[in-house]
Amino acid sequence: MHNSSTGSTSKPKGSLSVSSDVSFKRKRGVFQKDLQHMMYGFGDDPNPLPETVALLEDIVVEYVTDLVHKAQDIATKRGKLLTEDFLFLIRKDLPKLHRCTELLSMNEELKQARKAFEVDEEKLAAD
């Protein structure tokens, strides 16, 4: 079962190569390192099995892909793809939704902090 996935065949994936992206078989191990640490944080062994990590990665990639597809479906009605589309999709999952809004607000704060920082530097330089 896992055989197909394990073999990182470099053959172009599926027939959909026609798309401009030319997304060939997806790369394996994109989240390997990060996932290992996260799994350890959630209670797994410090060195989890590679198969487990690969499985988790499959789950994550599938989830993200599915989410993006759905967001795109919603966004086509409006035009552009916005972060609001994603927030709309996870509206039912409160922990995720709150975490997302928190991260977004933190992002805004950081941006402003950087802006202020730069301005300060300029002022100092001017002085």
Binding site: S4, Q72, T76
Partner: protein, 550 residues
């Protein structure tokens, strides 16, 4: 019932002959038993495309399911081929879960019983009423098969052989109370669960009083579950025959069908030998191995003795295992599947029902085996592999059959207990619940495999691969299985919007902008008036928009 009978008879023109002669492949084995018991000459194999399965089913419904099954097995084998063709005609799209061993139609009768799944409770009583034509017990088993088979699925084909036996086989959702009211009632209850998928698959005879309820139940199951159970061609006399229809389905619950008394089914456990004698005769066609062919139907036919009582169901499953393994199904890959991961090759085997599938929980294997069984119906090309596989399969089957009691079942009672304990250690399930769960599992696997095989065929491939199963599960069941997706990246398909739709949307936007502009202008003049206008306009504006934008 009359209508059903006629329907059944019509499709089965050829049936009358097979019972004795056709060794029809495994499926036939069940039919064989069914045919014999079936008083009506309708030789199980009925022309109904249901290859063997039909036959088996027919035999089953007949009173002496069990016995005839065994005898029929040899016949079913040769008949299988005809059935095989039939199965293929089934239309790949149809989730023939049950079709495999025999065309699902026989299960129809069974299905009707399933529809009334609600009455599942009564099933046990039905079983207990073995006195009535062995069919009473089979209904329970049948339930597994019938599920998932769309009502419209080949009913005509399979019914052929059942009809004679069952007089009242409800072809479609008509569960028509069968002639044997007493038995039917009991059977009906048992059959019910099986009939789910099959709408009206005609719970053959067994429906009796219960059948009436079933039709409702069956229709309720939109799922593809193959009607297999119904196809079991329950002999009119007994709803149990319905169970016999279940043919290959691991449900073998057919045991209720045991009434036919097919001794062979009972022996299956002893491994193919018992079935071989008559199987070899019949085999000619597909399954070269007599044991295998008969095995496919064995499940259905489960020795009538055991079938007679619901409690036998577990037994039946056991029986079915040994038999199916022997039966054709094994030859093909079914058995192999279990033993060997070469599931893909097994699709060829489609033979009606990878009998002993042995509770190998390997999803792929099961699926593969199932696919093979189903493949019979669907793909002609698949059959090619069977002969060679059969032999290996038989051996495997034998071993597996002997090893495990319920080779044909996907789940065993023990595994159900384990699963339940994982959820709640102190939880206990009723035996009927366990039975129905086993049936449901079998039917599920059958339906999945069938559809996956049809997808593989659509892909112009003779190998059942994981992606076929994954696609079906994802699209129809909304079940995602991580870890099996392979390296393909799911591409995004932009939702297609017709040009005219876009034009309409643009027009609406323009009109909205215009209205708003007007509103703003007017509002500037009169504040109060504007408010009202806006309020009126807002809904107006909104409605066309909403209406336009689906």
């Amino acid at each position: 019932m009359d209508s059903m009978e006629t329907a059944a008879t019509a499709p089965q023109p050829t049936e009358p002959t097979p019972p004795s002669t056709s060794t029809v492949p495994s499926s036939s084995s069940t039919i064989a038993s069914a045919t014999e018991p079936v008083p009506s000459p309708s030789p199980n194999p009925n022309p109904n495309p249901n290859p063997n399965p039909n036959q088996n089913q027919n035999t089953q419904p007949s009173t002496s399911f069990q016995q005839p099954q065994q005898a029929q097995q040899p016949q079913p084998q040769p008949q299988q081929q005809p059935n095989h063709q039939h199965s293929q005609t089934r239309a790949p799209g149809i989730p023939l879960n049950r079709l495999r061993p025999q065309p699902p139609y026989p299960n129809f009768a069974h299905l009707s019983s399933l529809t009334s799944s609600t009455t599942s409770a009564p099933l046990p009583p039905s079983i207990s009423s073995p006195a009535s034509p062995s069919i009473s017990t089979p209904p329970i088993q049948r339930g597994g098969i019938a599920i998932g088979v769309p009502a419209h699925a080949r009913p005509p084909q399979q019914h052929t052989f059942f009809n004679p036996p069952f007089t009242g086989l409800p072809r479609g959702s008509v569960n028509v109370s069968d002639p044997s009211p007493s038995t039917n009632t009991t059977n009906a209850t048992t059959v019910r669960p099986q009939m789910h998928g099959v709408q009206g698959m005609g719970m053959v005879g067994s429906h009796g009083p219960g059948s009436q309820l079933r039709p409702g139940g069956v229709s309720g199951h939109p799922q593809q579950r193959p009607v297999q159970p119904s196809i079991r061609s329950q002999s009119p006399s007994s709803s149990q025959s319905l169970s016999s229809q279940l043919q290959g389905h691991s449900l073998l619950r057919v045991s209720s069908m045991g009434s036919p008394g097919s001794p062979s089914p009972g022996t299956p456990q002893s491994s193919q030998n018992p079935s071989q004698p008559w199987i070899s005769a019949g085999q000619q066609g597909k399954q070269t191995q007599p044991s295998l062919s008969s095995s496919s139907y064995r499940p259905q036919m489960k020795p009538p003795q055991s079938l007679q009582q619901r409690s036998h169901i577990p037994q039946q499953q056991l029986h079915s295992l040994p038999m199916p393994s022997h039966q054709q199904q094994l030859p093909s890959a079914q058995q192999q599947q279990q033993p060997s991961p070469s599931q893909q090759s097994q699709e060829h085997y489609v033979q009606q029902y990878p009998p002993p599938r042995v509770p190998q929980s390997l999803p792929h294997q099961h699926q593969v085996t199932r696919g093979q069984g189903l493949g019979n119906q669907k793909s002609t090309s698949l059959t090619t592999v069977q002969p060679t596989n059969v032999q290996s399969g038989t051996q495997n089957a034998t071993a597996s059959a002997d090893a495990g009691e319920c080779g044909n079942q996907i789940l065993s009672k023990r595994s159900i207990h384990e699963l339940v304990s994982q959820i709640d250690p102190s939880e206990r399930l009723d035996p009927e619940v366990e039975d129905i769960l086993v049936e449901i599992a079998d039917e599920f696997v059958d339906s999945i495999t069938t559809f996956a095989c049809s997808l593989a065929k659509h892909r112009k491939s003779t190998t059942l691969e994981a992606k076929d199963v994954l696609l079906h599960l994802e699209r129809n069941w909304n079940i995602t299985l991580p870890g099996f997706g392979g390296d393909e990246i799911k591409s995004y398909k932009k939702p297609y919007t017709a040009d005219i739709h876009k034009e309409r949307l643009a027009a609406i936007k323009k009109s909205i902008v215009g209205v708003e502009a007007v509103n703003t202008k007017s509002s500037a003049g009169q504040a109060a008036g504007n408010l009202k206008g806006h309020a009126a306009k807002a809904p107006v504006i909104g409605s066309p928009k909403t209406s336009e934008v689906p």
